[in-house]
């Protein structure tokens, strides 16, 4: 058992604890924070496997963005984020779904990679990852990005208001600040204070009016 194994076990335990806390916590914000811990723990697991790039992506995308968006959504919506008890009353169903998912995933993983030995001391460099994504697997990658784009457009369409209730900015009084375009040989300053007048060059405009 090397030092890395110890770290792996510790990070794994932390991740698992975070996951358990996520589903058992009665406070929605606590649950979201526990989820962030879980996601960060997964980044730690990647790190132990020397997948630095993946770990950092995990941090940026999941901890930095997804968890924040979760918290954001919780705080902006009327979700019960206080001390109110939180119980979805669907424990049986949830248990069944998650248990089934666990069995399926673990079986898949064992079947696929069960006898592959990964050399833990050398992770793939980013050049390898880059070539893999943009050369070998470029089609699935582009497909995925199309999917994301569709989701993006869909979200915008959903979030858009109808015409009647548009949240356009209210009319604000414009205040012109700066040097008034006064020329001493020209008319009084009141004449050049108007909006249309201000568009003209200072010299000729005032003179024409006078």
């Amino acid at each position: 058992m090397t030092g890395l194994d110890v770290v792996f076990v510790l990070v794994g335990l932390l991740t698992a604890a975070g996951a358990v806390l996520t589903v058992t916590s009665k406070n929605l914000v606590h649950a979201a924070l526990a989820l962030a811990v879980t996601l960060a723990g997964i980044a730690g697991v990647f790190l132990v496997l020397h997948a630095d790039f993946l770990a950092l992506v995990q941090l940026v995308v999941y901890v930095g963005a997804v968890a924040v968006l979760f918290l954001f959504g919780l705080m902006l919506t009327r979700a019960p984020i206080g001390r109110e008890a939180l119980d979805s009353q669907n424990r049986g169903l949830a248990l069944a779904v998650s248990g089934g998912l666990f069995v399926v995933l673990s079986t898949l993983i064992v079947l696929a990679f069960g006898d592959v030995r990964v050399d833990a001391m050398t992770g793939p460099g980013i050049d390898v990852i880059g070539i893999a994504i943009f050369a070998v697997w470029v089609l699935p990658f582009e497909l995925l990005s199309m999917l994301l784009l569709a989701a993006l457009i869909g979200a915008i369409v959903l979030a858009r208001r109808e015409d009647g209730e548009s949240g356009e900015e209210a009319e604000v009084t414009r205040i012109e600040v700066g040097d008034p375009p006064i020329n001493e040989s020209d008319g009084p300053p009141a004449e050049v204070a108007g909006d249309g007048q201000a568009e003209l060059p200072a010299g000729s405009g005032g003179g024409g009016q006078a």
Binding site: V177, G178, D179, P181, A198, E199, P201, A202
Partner: protein, 412 residues
């Protein structure tokens, strides 16, 4: 913005304005080390000259806040001469102003018929407890020492009535003494040369003012001998002592500044002094006077800065006057130290004086507000009120000026 400007010029303009200020001299007044020159009648604190108070109670009655507390008792004064009638007079027992309540309206100062209440520009009397803001008679009397002389009249202003009277009187005397003119002129010349010798010599032993401590005692004795009450004599002698002590300290400071060594970069235009040191003499003097440690320290710091500035100014002057010894240039300001207050602009005084002396050919110089210090001190020591002493001292000064003028004409 002007309508033709590119987008973003406004942002650059903002940056330009701020960075311009970065290289400007800060407007900050380094308060405990530098002070504002306050007007002589700034509403800082109300001072009491209790010897002027007749317990008429006008101030206490007019006070909108009722923050003046006066207690008194009546004393029977035996008849002044045989066959007279015994009279009663009010004796002030307590005079207190509650500065936590006072609204600084100045009505008490205005209504006082005997000039017992004065405004002093001092404002540094914050306290840790509120009852300490109730200033009793002694404290109020101390503030009276800080009252600066009144501001000079405007150029060409009509002189106050008492001054014109005194001048008329002096002119009569002058005409009467016309035959003794020559003797007096000689005496005056001798006096001025003596004064100049005293000024140029850095040794303090030569100065007649140094013996002030004994004069203080003399004043006291004189007053007692004149039949003044012990209390009045003591307070006046004390005032005289404080005044003289301050004058002496100033003279010493200037003498010390004369032979000082070279300072870094003496710029004549604006002298900046890095503060942080205190003037030990002032500090000791203030502590001895019973001021609090904090106030003494602050004032000593201010005194140090003042001295340092005077010293630098003197050095700059001597540097400008190529070869003139520094000691002569830095004339002691003590002869012009008007009322012995520490607020008097000591650095300006020596610069003004020679200019005024040169202009003496003009007889109409009397409105400038110069006073004859010796006369003034003598009158104060005699127990005259400050106002009268000032007026008479002005008259004396005019007299001397005229003599000097006559001398000059006679010489020519």
């Amino acid at each position: 913005m002007a309508q033709t400007s590119l987008p973003g010029t406004g942002l650059l303009k903002g940056l330009a304005v701020t960075v311009k200020h970065l290289f400007k001299r800060p407007a900050t007044l380094m308060y405990p080390y530098e002070r504002n020159e306050l007007a002589p009648r700034t509403r800082g604190v109300i001072a009491l000259m209790d010897e002027n108070c007749t317990v008429c109670m006008l101030c206490a009655r007019e006070c909108p806040d009722w923050c003046i507390y006066i207690d008194s008792h009546k004393e029977t004064v035996p008849p002044a001469k045989e066959g007279g009638r015994a009279r009663t007079r009010n004796v002030l027992d307590r005079f207190a102003i509650d500065f936590s309540l006072c609204m600084y309206c100045g009505i008490c100062v205005e209504v006082c018929p005997f000039d017992a209440l004065w405004w002093s520009p001092e404002f540094e009397y914050s306290e840790y407890t509120m009852d300490a803001l109730l200033h009793e008679k002694d404290k109020l009397r101390e503030w009276a020492d800080t009252v600066p002389p009144p501001p000079a009249l405007d150029e060409g202003a009509e002189a106050p009535a008492e001054v014109t009277e005194a001048i008329a009187k002096a002119e009569k005397e002058l005409e009467a003494a016309a035959q003794k003119e020559a003797d007096k002129a000689a005496a005056a010349e001798a006096a001025t040369t003596e004064a100049k010798a005293g000024g140029s010599g850095p040794k303090k032993a030569d100065e007649p003012k140094v013996a002030a401590g004994e004069i203080d005692q003399e004043t006291y004795d004189a007053l007692i001998a004149e039949g003044k009450s012990e209390r009045i004599a003591r307070s006046k002698a004390k005032a005289a002592y404080v005044k003289k002590e301050k004058a002496r300290l100033k003279a010493e400071a200037d003498a010390g500044g004369g032979d000082a060594e070279a300072a870094p970069t003496p710029k004549a235009a604006d002298i900046k002094v890095e503060a942080g040191q205190i003037d030990q003499e002032t500090y000791d003097a203030l502590i001895a006077e019973g001021k609090t440690e904090r106030m003494a320290r602050a004032k000593a710091k201010a005194a140090w800065v003042k001295k340092e500035k005077a010293r630098l100014a003197a050095e700059a002057e001597s540097a400008a006057g190529a070869g003139a010894p520094a000691g002569e240039e830095a004339e002691p300001p003590s002869p012009t130290d008007a009322a012995g207050s520490d607020q008097a602009p000591s650095t300006d005084a020596p610069a003004e004086e020679p200019a005024a002396t040169r202009k003496l050919g003009d007889v109409h110089v009397e409105g400038t507000g110069e006073i004859d210090q010796e006369t003034y001190d003598a009158l104060i020591a005699e127990g005259k009120s400050e106002r009268i002493a000032r007026a008479k001292a002005k008259a004396a000064w005019v007299k001397k000026a005229k003599q000097a003028k006559l001398d000059e004409e006679g010489g020519a």
